[in-house]
């Protein structure tokens, strides 16, 4: 077979299969994008404890987000210059009573990047929920960070107020709980046994995300007066 035939054959084959795959990708794109958006909206609702997202259908989640959430805000962390998307959740459709904030975080786990959304109370002192959107940790071990066994304490409320001492973490994720009488006991989250590296990675990336979020909120007091007051009180 001549070189021209070989080149022509490969070019035609690549064009045919490339076009078919591109066509399929474009056809599926709206559905994939719709599912991704819906999942993110459910995560916002769950992280801010606006409702039990699992019990709501897609339309109810969308309505809740449209009526009781402001997802247009973006803050800037003055130290790193990074943009921090800010989601505000309100208790009422008139948007008069703030229920809490949510912000996305991203960092490296033990195997691959971990992506999620953390919700905090209006005074930024306690968590309202944690949702893991992406993770590739070991199924059954590190992968359990996306399950209620790990996320429930965040929904119950973990203290994440700015630490009093410099260098102290916002929260700790360890296997051994501190003495309940210890002032930092409320900042503790139980680690998943057998997933030490993933839990250490989660501790690091959540502390970094919280530090960035607090800096960004402090630098933008107009974002919310309640949060500004909380920072003034520190």
């Amino acid at each position: 077979m001549s070189k021209a035939y070989i080149l022509g054959f490969m070019a035609v084959l690549s064009a045919v299969f490339g076009a078919a795959v591109c066509g399929l990708h474009l056809a599926a794109k709206p559905r994939v994008e719709h599912l991704r958006q819906l999942r993110t909206q459910r995560a916002w609702v769950e992280a801010t404890a606006l409702a039990e997202a699992g019990g709501l259908d897609d339309a109810a989640v969308r309505r809740l987000v449209e009526e009781q959430m402001d997802t247009t805000g973006t803050l800037t962390d003055p130290e790193t210059g990074r943009a921090v998307p800010l989601i505000k959740a309100y208790e009422d459709a008139a948007r008069t009573r703030l229920k809490g904030y949510a912000f996305p975080f991203r960092g490296f786990g033990f195997w691959a990047p971990i992506e999620g959304i953390l919700g905090v109370t209006p005074d930024l002192r306690r968590t309202t929920g944690l949702v893991i959107l992406e993770q590739q940790e070991t199924p059954g071990l590190g992968g359990r960070i996306a399950e209620p066994i790990f996320t429930q304490p965040f929904a119950r409320g973990v203290t994440v107020a700015p630490p009093v001492r410099a260098g102290q973490p916002f929260l700790t994720i360890r296997a051994t709980a501190p003495d309940p009488a210890h002032p930092d006991a409320a900042r503790h989250v139980d680690a998943i046994s057998g997933a030490t590296q993933t839990c250490l990675a989660m501790e690091k990336l959540l502390n970094e995300a919280l530090a960035g979020f607090h800096r960004a909120m402090a630098a933008h007091p107009a974002a919310d007066p309640q949060a500004a007051a909380a920072h003034e009180g520190d």
Partner: protein, 215 residues
């Protein structure tokens, strides 16, 4: 008289790949994903469906193009065809079962490099007509699936106390997780056991004298 399925070229290839020449315990192919996805049966099932689809259609396409494919570039052609079908699987999982895609997504992409696809294309599809090639690929995919599901059906109950995500009966009363079963070493142990069992059952014994022959 119509030929029996087992006597046709495709039927013979299909059945051989399913059991006697099983790609996992006989040919020792596709081990990477065997170790990676078998701790949950649901993930295993979707991986197996994806691989069977990709292998059968890659074999069929390679066979259909065999008279036109330049010998020098045949492996490039096989990889290109396999990649296209694997991307189809990836898009389908992303669009219809996103939760499964989130868990096995990275391994789906690796189907492209799965030795079973290239192995069947090189060993069978480029020398045989499309229908037998399709059956050969499907047999290899289903043979791989059988072994993976057998491993998953041991690892998931022992590791999580569930099967296909459903709790086993009276789980609270008896279940104690065997953590190693959900970790990669558990897959190694199970693969070794299943391979041993499979090889023992399929061992080809030397042909002895026919029954009733004079001693």
């Amino acid at each position: 008289m119509p030929k029996r399925f087992a006597d046709t070229a495709g039927g013979k290839a299909f059945l051989l790949n399913l059991w006697q020449d099983n790609p996992v315990f006989r040919q020792v192919l596709g081990i990477c994903s065997t170790l990676a996805v078998t701790n949950l049966a649901t993930n295993t099932l979707f991986m197996c469906l994806g691989l069977t689809f990709a292998t059968a259609l890659t074999s069929w396409t390679c066979s259909a193009l065999r008279h036109h494919t330049p010998r020098q570039t045949r492996m490039m052609v096989q990889v290109l065809i396999a990649a296209a079908y694997v991307i189809v699987v990836d898009i389908a999982l992303r669009a219809y079962v996103p939760d499964v895609h989130r868990l096995i997504g990275p391994y789906v992409g690796l189907i492209i490099t799965n030795c079973i696809i290239m192995g069947r294309a090189e060993a069978f599809a480029i020398k045989n007509p499309p229908v037998p090639a399709f059956l050969d690929g499907a047999g290899a995919g289903l043979g791989y699936s059988g072994v993976l599901l057998a491993i998953a059906c041991v690892r998931e109950p022992l590791g999580f106390g569930t099967l296909f995500g459903l709790p086993l009966p009276a789980r609270e009363a008896w279940f104690h997780p065997v953590t190693i079963m959900v970790m990669p070493p558990g897959a190694f142990f199970m693969l070794a056991l299943v391979s041993w069992l499979g090889i023992s059952l399929t061992a080809r014994r030397p042909a002895g004298p026919p029954k009733g022959a004079a001693k």
